[in-house]
């Protein structure tokens, strides 16, 4: 019963997220598409909450809803063509693209459905003991949120400190590069014209 309710909640979140994303990406106006993707990001965050990954859920909301949607809206406003006419969907491009996406979807769904994840046993555990380690017909044991967040924070600054520093350097370099790319190159064109 508990598993049924949990799976029903997952299906609800999944259908809402996929439907929102599909409608958003098939809209003609890009401002509406960007805004309609916000519920899709929230849907993915809801999935993370469902999976007891609260830390990732809040990171998802901060990064995608807070940052990426806003940056995308800025890009939309900065690259608005004069008339502001909605960009048309290319007919000759959209049919093969949809066919390829549907083929990939069929392949992935068939692969997932044909994989018996019950048979997956950790290395070193006999196949008969796998049921003791993980029983797929039962929901996985819940994770205590405070302890999980504390453990993630501690492992970030203890075990994964080189990776954390590398991510910080990557973000700094990427943002500096983004500023350099997007900055108005007035001096460059002036010298280029002079030369």
């Amino acid at each position: 019963m508990e598993l049924l309710l949990s799976n029903a909640a997952l299906c609800l979140v999944a259908v809402a997220t996929i439907a929102t994303a599909a409608v958003a990406l098939s809209l003609r106006g890009i401002v509406h598409a960007t805004l309609l993707l916000v519920p899709a990001w929230f849907g993915v965050a809801a999935f993370y909450l469902w999976a007891d990954a609260q830390f990732i859920a809040f990171a998802q909301v901060l990064v995608y809803v807070g940052a990426i949607s806003m940056v995308a809206l800025f890009a939309v406003l900065l690259t608005r063509a004069g008339g502001g006419a909605p960009e048309p969907v290319r007919a000759q491009l959209s049919v093969p693209g949809a066919v390829v996406a549907a083929a990939v979807a069929v392949t992935l769904v068939a692969a997932v459905l044909n994989t018996p994840f019950d048979a997956v046993a950790p290395a070193g555990v006999a196949a008969g003991d796998a049921a003791k380690v993980w029983n797929p017909s039962q929901p996985p044991p819940p994770v205590v949120p405070e302890r999980a967040v504390a453990a993630i924070g501690r492992s970030l600054v203890e075990k994964y400190i080189p990776e954390l520093l590398a991510a910080g350097v990557l973000l700094t370099v990427a943002l500096l590069g983004a500023v350099l790319l997007a900055a108005s190159p007035k001096t460059d064109t002036a010298t280029g014209n002079a030369a």
């Binding site: 990406l25 960007t34 830390f55 890009a75 979807a105």
Partner: protein, 119 residues
């Protein structure tokens, strides 16, 4: 069919929505949003396997150390997803800056018309 199957179906379909958008849309920002959606589907897979599969690292160590090892190994999927989100943020920033640069150069973000490498 168990909840891991449902998670994987969810991420597969979300991936294909993003793939369809990246293939069939013509605006550069739409393509970038489709790529972001595909990255999200990959993150969903990290979290789904972290949640549903037992940590394999624990079984090999065994004994009394297994309990302590479970904590760190159980966090690996979450840490991976966290760094993946950080890289996705960097990618979005650079991608949108590139779109702005292309727009300034060509006065448009139509990908079918942006055929020159010369800049």
């Amino acid at each position: 069919m168990n909840s891991l199957h449902l998670c994987l179906l969810f991420s597969s379909l979300l991936f294909c929505v993003g793939l369809g958008a990246a293939f069939s849309r013509n605006g550069a920002i739409f393509v970038l949003l489709g790529v972001e959606l595909m990255l999200n589907a990959a993150n969903i897979n990290f979290i789904a396997f972290w949640r549903h599969l037992p940590a394999t690292a624990t079984a090999t160590t065994g004994g009394a150390a297994a309990g302590a090892e479970t904590v760190t190994a159980a966090g690996a999927g979450v840490i991976f997803a966290l760094f993946s989100i950080a890289v996705a943020a960097a990618e979005a920033a650079v991608g949108l800056a590139l779109i702005i640069a292309v727009y300034r150069h060509r006065r448009g973000t139509d990908l079918a018309e942006s055929t020159e490498l010369r800049g």
